[in-house]
Each structure stands twice: as structure tokens, then as C-alpha cells.
Symmetry: C2
Subunit: 797 residues, 2 copies
Amino acid sequence: MEPKLFFRLFLLIITACFIVFFTSTSFSHAPSSTAKLFDCTKSSSSPLCASRNFLFNKKTRPIAQNVPKTKPKNHDHVSDTPNHPLDPLTVMELNKVRSILSSHALFASRAPHTLNSVVLEEPDKNLVRQWDKGDQLPPRKASVIARVGGDSHLLTVDLSTNLVDLVDSPVRKSGYPIVTTEEMDSAASAPFSNADFNRTILSRGINLTDVVCIPMSSGWFGNKEDNKRVTKIQCFSSQGTPNFYMRPIEGLTLLFDLYTKQILEITDTGQSIPIPGLINTDYRYSNFPNRDKTRPLNPISIEQPHGPSFVIEDNHIVKWANWEFHLKPDPRAGLIISRVRVHDPDTEETREVMYKGFVSELFIPYMDPSEAWYFKTYMDAGEYGLGLQTMPLEPLNDCPRNAVYMDGIFAAFDGTPFVRENMICVFESYAGDIAWRHTEYPVPGTPLLREVRPKVTLVVRMVASVGNYDYIIDYEFQTDGLMRAKVGLSGILMVKGTSYVNKNQVKKDKEGNEEELYGNILSENVIGVIHDHYVTFYLDLDVDGPDNSFLKVNLKRQETAPGESPRKSYMKASPIHTCPTRSDPKMVQSSTRPKIDAVDLSPNIPRLMAKEPSSRGGVLGHNVPHRKLEGILKKDGQIKLSLYDPSEYHVINSGKTTRVGNPTGYKIVPRATAASLLDHDDPPQKRGAFTNNQIWVTPYNKSEQWAGGLFTYQSHGDDTLAVWSDRDRDIENKDIVVWYTLGFHHIPCQEDFPIMPTVSSSFDLKPANFFERNPILKAAPNFEYDLPVCGAKSVST
Amino acid sequence: MEPKLFFRLFLLIITACFIVFFTSTSFSHAPSSTAKLFDCTKSSSSPLCASRNFLFNKKTRPIAQNVPKTKPKNHDHVSDTPNHPLDPLTVMELNKVRSILSSHALFASRAPHTLNSVVLEEPDKNLVRQWDKGDQLPPRKASVIARVGGDSHLLTVDLSTNLVDLVDSPVRKSGYPIVTTEEMDSAASAPFSNADFNRTILSRGINLTDVVCIPMSSGWFGNKEDNKRVTKIQCFSSQGTPNFYMRPIEGLTLLFDLYTKQILEITDTGQSIPIPGLINTDYRYSNFPNRDKTRPLNPISIEQPHGPSFVIEDNHIVKWANWEFHLKPDPRAGLIISRVRVHDPDTEETREVMYKGFVSELFIPYMDPSEAWYFKTYMDAGEYGLGLQTMPLEPLNDCPRNAVYMDGIFAAFDGTPFVRENMICVFESYAGDIAWRHTEYPVPGTPLLREVRPKVTLVVRMVASVGNYDYIIDYEFQTDGLMRAKVGLSGILMVKGTSYVNKNQVKKDKEGNEEELYGNILSENVIGVIHDHYVTFYLDLDVDGPDNSFLKVNLKRQETAPGESPRKSYMKASPIHTCPTRSDPKMVQSSTRPKIDAVDLSPNIPRLMAKEPSSRGGVLGHNVPHRKLEGILKKDGQIKLSLYDPSEYHVINSGKTTRVGNPTGYKIVPRATAASLLDHDDPPQKRGAFTNNQIWVTPYNKSEQWAGGLFTYQSHGDDTLAVWSDRDRDIENKDIVVWYTLGFHHIPCQEDFPIMPTVSSSFDLKPANFFERNPILKAAPNFEYDLPVCGAKSVST
């Protein structure tokens, strides 16, 4: 969750310096390279290396030198130019933003200032939708979030006019922007300057050189944190292991002011708790001389003798099978997929499905209310930035051999651009699964029927290591029109020290109830603390264009009439009619406002009608006046899932129907998930209120993209999706956005120690009467003569 | 659901004849062969080909000749001998059973008789568990279900003593055994001898030669079906398409007596409904001259330059990575996995996980109560046999190139053995996923950490084409100890004819409510009828041996005390204490008996304790007296899942703990599923009452294996898992069986026409404090030098 980023500062500055000035020199872009570290101290006389001091001062430190490898010329990104309205800001553009801002009055003061976010200000949706390859790009603009002194500012920089628009300056709502590497670095080193801290460390018998401290976002718990940008700091012993997370110095917490750089408070509740041992904590392959003693697995690989079937045009347009979309790295969301369109084999049209999809926010509440743990309620996208927390993916292991990689270009906290190499991979996956099949026993005169089509998918992957946890985010495309968003959790647990070495030591009260541990004992002196993960996706579906409606189809038992049938009952699919009943009393939480799931849909209420038919529509697509369909949600929709009160959730274009009259649509198909059980009035749940429902539907609003609010850090929960959704806005035949939250309860067990096997879940966006028929009816089976001829490269190597 | 098996009869007899007599001749075992048809009419003078007349008489018909290909000698199965106590009956053994029974008094009568099931009578569990390779096999026995005249008989045939034990003869409980191919064949041809039938077909303008009729199990709906073994028959037009399922002759239903071979009743409610057209119904690749016009996919393959990592020893013992298990085909369950054990890298022990796992029953209720549809409430395992409904898997498409295949040896309805070739495949899958990973930004003096391990799994697959539907059943093993059972649904919908060609024609009543269609219009005159699929798995988990308990850990919101914490709440994991509350009032169905989820667990009640410690246990395993653990279910357990009242479900060995004192365990991890909404008193739901809960826990009872009862066909629901579970038997520290039901609601959409893209779901059995730590900590990453060197075989081919 929480970055430990002692040296991120240097990594970023130096990378940026390098990119600007040393693109033709020996810089590592090799996939297997480790971090690219270039020592700016040696080039500090260079004007641009000095530029890292432009917005603030940061003293340099010696860092380990890596030997950079030769970098292919076309991957240096210095000469990148935007090709599409949604392309991210280039190195040149980021430098220009920095240059424009450097002369702006806002940054004239001597107060510390940082650029917390510099990203493309995306053009209006209509402009983007109308743009075709070859057209001039709409004006390029940057959206900038800056801190100057104690204030946040939201700016737009026009790169054609050089004008700066102070959109919200200073920002007056609660919350702060993403913490910067500079801030994290200062927090990580601050304890060592504190005499009380050093004293308590020494009193525990630890060498200060073995201590690693990491900042942890503080959440927000009421007035005492108001008007101070703070972080909690906790520390670990790295003595003898790279896996210091397993060796917490329990109960020792510091509160640090990120602006004044002062330690405000030290609490120490864990003096009696030993630091867990280092045995079995290391997970490096190089650490196991005997390696795995079980039957070894033979090498296995996905091979494509003719190469991948996809192309990435103009750096960002991915075209594969029947799909095409725009793909770009993003510092906050990790990656953004836009303009998703699919080819219709019947009409030969390329039809719109989704304008934009990305991870909007995460919420990871730990389930321990005690002093050293209560605040651990992370919102990793808005607090740290999923894209900023990526590392280069490891070829052959993070992604298979046939993967293609994409770099991210981000701005450092001083505005200098840097390259995050290989942060996204794109590959075709074939697991041996079946796309469709049927076997029919022969009837006389007909041949045996056995028709089977293998399932090949396209995966777009990024991995964010937000401190201890690793989030593997996959967007998977199937040729049958299904899109799957999948989240894999791996990495290292956040554990709690305990004096217990065995469960049988746990104290019991007079009634025999065991002491609450808030988790399970995973190893001697180690408790894995229970926590949840919520990942909220922003899904601006535009099914055949933006004018869509959300159709909730309830599945209910219908009893038959007496004498009607030998059956007593059947399941009926009914569009909802009125406010649904709350089937589960537990679902009615103590929220301060009544929950609306859907507003009255009774036919007596006048409805938005008579929209102009969409201008789209092909041979088989039938444009019809927007029709009155039962079950359409009219206002901001909020939906909780239930196994015994199931529904289907369709986004339909009621202005366009299939040949037989069904509105064209895509449905959201939840799979395994979890729901937050926290009190809705609990401060963390107020901030994470966007997880109160699994599905939300809102009208499109360009400013509503981050479910926890644009300014998430220490936010009060006054600018979340839950608040926007209360605005009771029309969503029928509108440009609507669907928000889906994927949840996990994590009750740690010993198998999670010292590093966790990946746990995954997913949800699907699936065509439902979007195509006239199975769109892969004509797909080809595999033939032996197509497949590669392979040999072992070098058995004896 | 319902087999259309005109020629199964011949296939089986002839195959059997062939195997017995022509093993060295030109018989097709080539993977790409179609059905193996050998014309017994030409060999009918042979005494063994005549043997197909042993138990009944069936007139022969001309059939298409296939040219058999050379078959490898070692695959003829004629000389197979059993190597393991659980090995299925061999060809020789099946012949011996037939021989023993032929001289038994029971079959002396002239009444028609069939052998509906001949399978291994598995030895007692203790014998099997104690057996080691090299030991003598326990006595080999066959369990036989026979029909003689109108009676069913359950017999055991001892192959060493030749004695026949009449276990239950005649059987007096409700229900019948699996329908035979002979019965299905007679049903499929019966309508054509009926003048009324022929008249109504002709009156609809259809040629009788274009009509295909298929038997459909009738379910059970009260007294009128009592004491008659019947089937419904419905018919389709196969004119111009192999996909006759899309061309129903709607509303025409025949009731056929499988014993007397009489048509009892013809109902015809669909005279005004046209037969849907044939356009776009064909799905054969050979039918698309222009093939797929979208960007073609380049060939892709899973390659293993050194071959697969698993071995199959003695025909049935699969050993892969840390796993080993016994795998066998089964005519009813499809396949059975037994003696599943996993290697513990810490102790070097091979530890027991699951004694036996298989698909126990399916339940597929259609949601249309009208005359021609109400009875469609299939239970495919007990009515048709999943194994019997398999076809040879198609290499490269049903399973990837690196797959290994296993044949099934089953008995035909006259007891003759036949081979179902390539009915199971086993392969290693690598989709490009990640088993575990972590990236750590470097701190000064330490190298960058990036440790990633690819995820390779072992998949065991079978596919049953039960009439129109195809069930893809995967058992997937992960090296981290997780087992996944996955069900994929593909094949062809059962559709309903309608006079509507467009949704806008659907009639409305005065209130504006649309006529109930019980589904969606998928094409002109075609309605895809709503239905559910339930697949109930039998899981005899033996975690470190048979003495296990079931631990339900409830996750509940816990409010903090005033002043305790800045947090108001957290989620607490609590073993259940007393009868859980019914969180969802909808879950309380109108069953005639009160639901018990778990019995009182209050500490005042004396509990079963003081069992002897298990005799197992290694270096790190600690045997402890069976302890009093909170949350253990004591009596037959019945569990419903709920998103807002979540739990974890552990099977633990409370007599064995890990090093730090946790009971060793595996947990059942539900993923996406669905629950039946039918009235519990509805006849189909009474028969399918095993789907009333998602999880059931019962004490091991050798006779309780088939959730819908041993005699499923036309059963009344008086011998289901739901009935057994009401017996209130102890399940604490017992040999227990867990039953898990995976459900799907299927609301058809146009993309399902004319053949359905696969829909999948799954659940996991996952180690939870079973291992001391992550068991794949020492797994190796991929290295480039291990991977194959591949080339395109022949681009121009």
C-alpha cells in the first residue's frame, strides 16, 4: 500500500535529466535491466540537470551506479510527437509546460512548490469522437495540479497559446494531491534526525542502519488532521533480509508534517513486542541454492511463429482481431483505455463500445482499530498514483515471451519528464480454452459434427507495486466481444508484530473468548492483519454512441396460477418497475441519507422521449426513436448485488435496435466480489463511500473521474462518487458512466508468508444483443500445419 | 440437454465387437478421426458380434462406413489390467461381468433386460488409503444396475468369486436408472410409426425425411407418471442445416413409454407457429467459403520443448509438480479424481487433500411453465450420464497441442465394453499469468528487487455434449496448492418457436404489459428460453487424513467502543457461535422443513472430543488432541452464500496443526455463482433440492454419492442430498464430504445464436494454513535459455 521510496527522488530526477540530454548515449532500455540510475551529480553543471532544482531544492545523495545498456534509437521518446487527441503529453510537451509555468506569477514566491500532476487535459469528448486520423489535433493542453506553499492549485496550460488558466486556485475543498517522491523521501528519512526515535530504536536493540522507515498515508479522522498535510511513518528491520515488511517494529508510529517537515508526534505502544525473526522471509531466487526440490516443471511458452496478430499504430492505437482502442499510460490510473471499438462482422462497421475505462480508485481498509493500525485505509490511486508506482515489467515472467511493451512518460514532482520503461505489456494469451464448441452424434446420412474453436485473447497488463502490495491489472479482450477487467493481488502482506509465537498462547477472557488479534498468526511473532481491497473502475460505455440508458433486469420467482401448469414456479426476467425492495436488511447501512437504487419507473411519470435517432446505423442496425423501455434507470443509479435477488445490468442504446428489435447493448457481468462491511459513518468508509455499492451509474461529467475525489489524500469524503450520485441527475438516454467496484476480503493465512500467491478476480463487459449473432461464428479452428516447429534451444545450457 | 442418439446403439455395439475381436486390424484411433463405425452386420456370424443380442434384440440398420485408421497396439485396451484399487473395470473385467450375469437367474426371464450401469464397486476407503503400489489389489467387484422387465436391480458382482450379490433387488424407491442408448433410439424413431404424428408433420408442410426427433427426460410432476418409465419426444426440422435445434417444430410433444415402446400421448399446441428459417444456423467451418473477414489471428500455441512435466503412471496415476492423483473416466460423472495428494516442500511429505472429487449431478430447469416446456428440468448426470455423452476431444482445439489423452472404457447397455477414445485430456496451461511477484524500489546499498514467477497449471478436461449443450469440465491444479473446478458452457441453445419476427410485434395487455415470452427473441421466429444450470460437485476432502471438521468463519462488522479508536468499525472474522441469522428473507423459501444452517455451538453443549490423534504428521506437522475450536459445524451443514453476510468455509484437521498452532486446512472459495429461485415445493426443485444450498456438509457415507439420488430419472426427490442432510448426523471430527453447487442463470441473447460462446465459472479449493508458508517460494522464474526455438512450419501451406 504505502511506498517506501528512499530513492525515488533520485530515480526520477536523474532519469529525466538523462532523457533530455543523453538520449543517444548508453542508457538502459533492455527489458531485463534493473532501474536506470544516472548520477546527475556528475552532470550538475549541465543546465538541464540543474533544472531539477527549478521548482524546489533537494540535496543530492550518492547512489549506486548501474551500467546502462545500449538503447534503441526509436525508443528514446525525446522526439515523440502526439498523433491522436488522447495521446499523453510528450517529453517535449512536458518540458514546455514546465517552461511556461516557470515564468508564471504563481511560482514566483519563495514558498516550496511542486507539480503533483501534469497530464494531458483531454479535449472534449465530441472533438475526440469526431477526430479521424489525418485531421489536425485539437489544441494540446496540460492539466496541472501544483502545490505552492500550503495551497493546492488546479491549472490548465494551453500549449499552443502558452496561456495558463487558473481553474481552481487555490483549491478550497478538503484533501490534497498525490504525495510526491520528495515528500515520501523526506518522511522516510525524518525519523533518524529525531532523538526520541533513535533512543527507542536503540532501546529495542536494533542498529539504526538496519532500520527502514516508510510513510503511510494517514487517512482522515476528524479535526485534528485539518489543515495539515501529514503522513504516518512506521519502521522495520531490514537486518538480514530484503523483506523488511515481515519484521515490523510494532507499535512505533510517527506523525510527520509533509509541509513543515516536522515530526509532530511519536507514539509507541509496542515496546514489549519483539521484532519477528528473519528466517524464511527472503524470497529472492538467488537465495535458494538448492532451489525447488519438487518435480521441476519443464519450460513452457506461448509461441506465435508468425508473430503477434496485433499492431500498435502511432504508439498508442492497438488493433487486434475485431478490436481497436487507444492505450496510454497514466500516472494516476496506471493505464487508460479509450475509444474502444469493435468490428461487426455482419455490417463491416466498427462500432463504439466504450469511450474510456480505467481504475479510478482503490480503497484498502485494514481491520484493526488500534493505535498503530487504525489509519491504514489506503486509496492508492489518489494518494500515490498507480502509474507512478509501477516498475518495468519483467519479460518472460511478468508477461509471456510474445508480449510487446509500452513505456510511460510522466512528469516528476518538479515537472521534468521521465520514462517508466516497459510499464505496460500487450500480448495474446492462449491457455488452451475453448471459444465455442459443439459435438453432435451422427444421424444417418450426416457426418459426425465436431466443431471447436480455440479461445485466444488479447491482454493489456500493468503492475503497480504500491509499497508492499502488487496490483496486477489486466484488461482482456475476447473476439466474441467480451471485455474482462481482472485484478490480481500479490506482493507482501502488511503484518503486525506480536509476542505470541503460537496460537495456543493467545489469552482468553473469563468467558473463554480469545483475545482479538485482528488477523491470524502466520509465523512466530507475526500476525497477518485482515483487510479488504476495493478497486473501482470508471467505465464510460458508449454503446453505439454516447446516448445510452441503463437497464436493470430483475430475475424473480414467478408462481404459476392454479391449474396453469404442472410447474409451481419459474424464474422471470423483469425490468424493474419501482423502487426495488431492500432484500437484505444488512444492506441498509447507517448512512445518513436514504439509499436510492432506482427512481420510480411507473408509466404515469412523463419520461424523456423523442430524442433524435442516432446518426449511426448500418445495414443491420435499425435506428428507432428512443423508446419507452421498462427497467431503465432514470436517475443516478446505485446497485447492490445479491445472490437471491439477482439482476442483469445492461447499458443499452435504446435508439438503436437489432434486426429483431432488441436494443443494442452491453451488460456488466459481476463475478466474485466482496462488499465493505464498515459502518457508513466510519471516517474511512466516508472517504471510500464509492464502495458502498457495487455498481453506480452517473451522467457523464468530465470532472467526475476519480471516485474518491480529485484531491484524495486526507480527503473528508465530501467529493466522492457517492456524493455526486446523490445529485439525482437524469441518466436515461444520456451519456452515462458506469462504475464497478471489485472487492476482496483478505483473511491472511500462512501460505501468504513471506510473499503471497496471486489472488485474482474479475468482471466482464459482455455484448448482449449488440451483435446480430455470435460474432465469431466464422472463426477458424487451429490446424496442425499452422503451428510452429519448435526445438529446445540448448538443453545443456 | 437431451441426447439425440439415432445411431448410438450401433456405435456402441460395433465398437465393442470390434474391440473384442479386431484389435489388430485397421481401427481408428487417430485423434482427428470421426466416429468409429464397424458394421457388425458383416460379422454377424461371429459369435461375439452376435453377443450384442445377448440381453435384448435390436434390429440392425444400414450405417455409413468410415475407413478406420491404424491404431497403435498399446491403445487397444483389450489386454489392460487394473493396477490400482480404483482403476476402472477393464475390457476383460467387463466381459467377465457380462459372462457371470448371463448365467444368473435374474436374467433368465424373457422380459427385456438391460445393464444400465456397470462400474467398479470401489473397495472400502480404508483399504484404498492403506494400499501401496506393489500391494495385492483388493478383490475386484462390479456394481451393476440392471433393468429386468419393469424392475430395477442393484447388484454387486464379485470378479474373484463370480458371486452376484443382490444388493437391492428389485429396487422399490422412486426413480429409474440412466436411459440407455437403446431406449433413446427407440424413442427417436417411434413417432414416425404414428399416423397422427405423420399427419401433423405433413400438415405443417415438412417432409418426414427432414424431421429429427429427440427424447427429452420427462422429469416428474406427480402421480400421472408413476410406475411408467417415460420420455417426452420433440422434433425439429433438419432441412438444410445440421443445426436442427434452431428449427423446432414448436408445441408438438409426444409422451413415450420406454418399456412398452408405446406412444402414450401427443399434444400439439403450436400449429400456428412457423418453423424458424435455416439462414445463419449452420456453424461448420466448411460452410464458410469466405471465412472470417476480420483481421485474422496468427497461429498461437503452447510449446514445451522438453515435453510435458507430468507423467501418467500405470494408466491412471497423474504426477505433476507437487501433485499426484488418480484419474479415471466414469460413465456417469464423466471423470473422477481420487487420492489427491500434494507434496509439502518443508516436510518432504506427500500429504492427503481430497479422497475423491467429481460432478455428482446437474440440474437445468427451463423457465417456461407452458405445456411443451414445463418438463424441461434436466439432471444430465443421473438421466443420461456425462461420461456416456462425451465424444473424442479434438486435438489442437478442445485441448492444446501439448495435451495427453485418456480413453474411457464403458459398458454398453448389453454389457459389452466399448472404448470412448480421447475422452479426457491432461495438459499444462500457461496463459501468461503470474504465480507471485514483488517489486521493491531500491534503497541505498541494496539492489533493485524484482522477483516474478510465472503461473503454470495442470488442467484435466472432459467435455460432455448432452444433446444440444456442451459442458466443459476442467479440474485445474496450481503449484501453490490451489485446485480449481471450472465449468464452461457452450453448444447450442434449446429454443422455442414463435410467430414473432420482431420484438415490436409482441402483444401487450390493457395495462401495457408485454406478453410473457419466457425468454428473448434471438432471430426471426426464435426465442431463447431462460434457464439455469447447476453443477453440484462431490468433494470428499481428507485434509491430512479423513478426520476433518468444517469451520465456518463469519465476517461481521464490529463497532468499536466509544473512545476506543478514531475508527467506528472494522470487519471481524468470527467463527460462528449459534444458529446464524437468516440475513435475506428471500432465502427463506417455502420448504416444508425448517432450514438448519448449523446447529447450536454454545459451549454448554457437550461436544465430541478426545479423538485419538491422527497417525500422520511429519517434521513440521504437530499432532494434537482434537481441540475445541469455535465455528466448527457439528451436524449436517447447509450454507447459503451472501455478499453482505460473508464467510469463509474451511475444512480443517483439528487434530493436526501447523508450527504456529493453526489447524491445517483447505478452504472452499466460491466465485461467481447463481442460486435457484424456484419454489422449494415445485416438483423440479424437489428433485433438484441439492441446489437449495451452495454448500452442504455431510458425514461420509459410501452410498451417498449422487446428489439427485442413485436413481435419478423420474425420481420424486425422496433420495437427494437435501434428504440425507436432514438426518442431523455428526460432522465434527468425522470423515466429511463437502458438496458445492456452481450455478448459472442464462438469459439468452442474440450472441448465443446459432451457437454459444463459452461462458465459464469456477470455484476453488485453496490451502489455508495447510502449508507452513508459501509452498512455491522456491519456484524458478522463466529463463530465455530454457525456452524453445520455434519456426513457422510452412507458411505457404
